[in-house]
Symmetry: C2
Subunit: 335 residues, 2 copies
């Protein structure tokens, strides 16, 4: 059926173990032997059997992506990034939907990792913010890499972005456009990014000596509907802001819809900004001013540092903060 090490060893006239050494890049193999073996490997088209490797060496060559109800385009980008990182490495990606509210989550995941001998986890918000959960993984000695964690210690692997700074800068830009009445829609309270973005907004406002108007600050949860509802509320009141900064694009889209239904024009009557640069940002009209995170690069890096750790290359690839980019589009106008 398929080619085994034994076949290769016969073809190359060496022992099974030597072939194993070559394909695992172990030290102390004569250069000439190595060449000979690699030739046979290529000639026969040998690929090691993952199940056997896994059984003996307790590695599965599988990473698992954990997520709970993320934005769909975010999920697709994360997957795509991880996939690219895995492509040439022999690792593969298993996906696992989770419920961050479930009390069984910890045990379920440990079970899952144990069952399938998953080598490492890649954890996305809001799971990245559950320190309880992460601690439990530490205790179980499960390897993982976190995307956008709330607390970062130097031991664990993570990738983050400069949410605070980006929100601060974007808010400052809105102010530079002449706005002082600026509303804000907060994100899902369980995502640490929500606070970072809000604080960025808040500090920018304060540092420009603008008074905060609580009526224009609404709690959302990153969903379109929560943005829509917030918009309805804000536009229903007597005094409305000249600009609204929503913690993500879905909510900004919700606000835009509520404004347009109310007969308000964007950006003539009200300017709008979002966060994420998800597809909807440029598909709306007018298109949204927003912040673009390098989600694919981030998740790709998250996978790389995890795999590097398995191969003992911990030095090469380290946890890292990525920079976001402001994208100006029609939804923000000069007053």
């Amino acid at each position: 059926m398929s080619v085994t090490i034994k076949d290769v060893s016969k073809d190359a006239s060496v022992s099974i173990k030597t072939v194993s050494r070559v394909i695992n890049n172990e030290a102390n193999v004569a250069e000439s032997t190595k060449k000979k073996v690699l030739l046979s490997v290529k000639k026969l088209g040998f690929k090691p059997n993952k199940s056997a490797q896994s059984l003996r060496s307790k590695k599965s060559y599988m990473l698992a992506l954990l997520y709970d109800n993320p934005n769909k385009s975010y999920l697709a980008d994360v997957q795509s990034g991880i996939f690219n990182a895995c492509k040439s490495t022999g690792y593969n990606l298993v996906i696992q939907e989770c419920d961050y509210k479930s009390s069984e989550l910890k045990n379920d995941i440990v079970q899952f990792v144990d069952d399938f001998r998953i080598d490492g986890l890649i954890i996305t918000p809001p799971l990245s913010d559950m320190s309880d959960f992460l601690n439990h993984l530490d205790l179980s000695e499960i390897q993982y890499s976190v995307i956008a964690p709330s607390t970062m210690n130097t031991e664990s692997l993570y990738v983050s972005s400069n949410d605070y700074e980006a929100a601060y800068t974007l808010t400052s830009e809105i102010i530079k456009h002449g706005h002082t009445d600026i509303g804000f829609i907060k994100g899902h309270p369980k995502h640490s990014a929500s606070n970072l973005r809000f604080n960025g907004y808040l500090d920018a406002i304060k540092n420009h000596n603008i008074e905060v108007n609580e009526n224009w600050i609404k709690q959302g949860n990153f969903s379109f509907k929560s943005g829509f509802d917030a918009g309805v509320e804000i536009f229903h009141s007597a005094a409305i802001p000249t600009a609204i900064f929503a913690s993500n694009d879905s909510m900004a889209a919700g606000i835009m819809k509520s404004a347009q239904m109310k007969g308000l024009k964007i950006p003539e009557d009200i300017s709008l900004a979002g966060f994420d640069d998800s597809p909807i940002a440029h598909q709306l009209w007018p298109a949204l001013t927003t912040v673009k995170q390098p989600v694919e690069k981030m998740s790709s890096h998250a996978a790389k540092i995890l795999m590097a750790k398995f191969d003992g290359l911990a030095e090469k690839n380290k946890s890292k903060e990525f920079k976001s980019e402001l994208i100006f589009r029609e939804s923000l106008k000069n007053l």
Copy 2:
């Protein structure tokens, strides 16, 4: 470390093989023995080692989802559906991005399945339409289940939806709303759904004795941009239709944007309809009239029939066509 069959066999005072029989639900085990074994299994918390099972029995308990650059929300829905089907079965889901244009695709996938001992594939458009590819899988005796295939033979497993019928009905509805000047934006030529939807439109037009205006029929590729470009073209000409039916929502959104930029109002100046009921459909204003496919249910079923086949339950779950649902929203108005 972890509990093995051997431990259970000792605890239950039976042979290793008998434990194996029990956990695999094989026939010819005395009821009393079964009980005894199950008790020990539970007591010790035994879980079979997947790697060992896989090595010996050549089953991996893993399904793989193959996709090539689909709509992001479609992908998320498909995953979600499959995930739910797998949840209580012990199977897990690996994802695999593909390039349908690659000449290596066939070999890469066979390799991948071979490497990881993937039990079965779930194949999404446009890969579902590559009969060459599917034939190759058949030859390699790889199990798979196809979502929205172009040709359906009775042997293979698939799920489909009534694209033709839905497009026919929706077009008829547009006509009932008083429209006769109806444009159409075709989908990606490699997706069989594109033709089905187009033919549904065409037949409805013809059966209502309306003349087809070729200038209002444009080739798209399911992307927002292709819809936008088509819109720009159509609205640039002297005579414009009173309604446009786009083969999916992304393209409809593109048309909406191009219309709004041109100063045309939806639905006052022009009615719009899409297909898919992707999130953007209700996030736009006005919201899109569209067709909703039960994507989650479909992909869930695709996974179920595949797993049923492995367990020899081929009778219970069969290939199936799912019905779509028309959703009327503001973008379509009575003339």
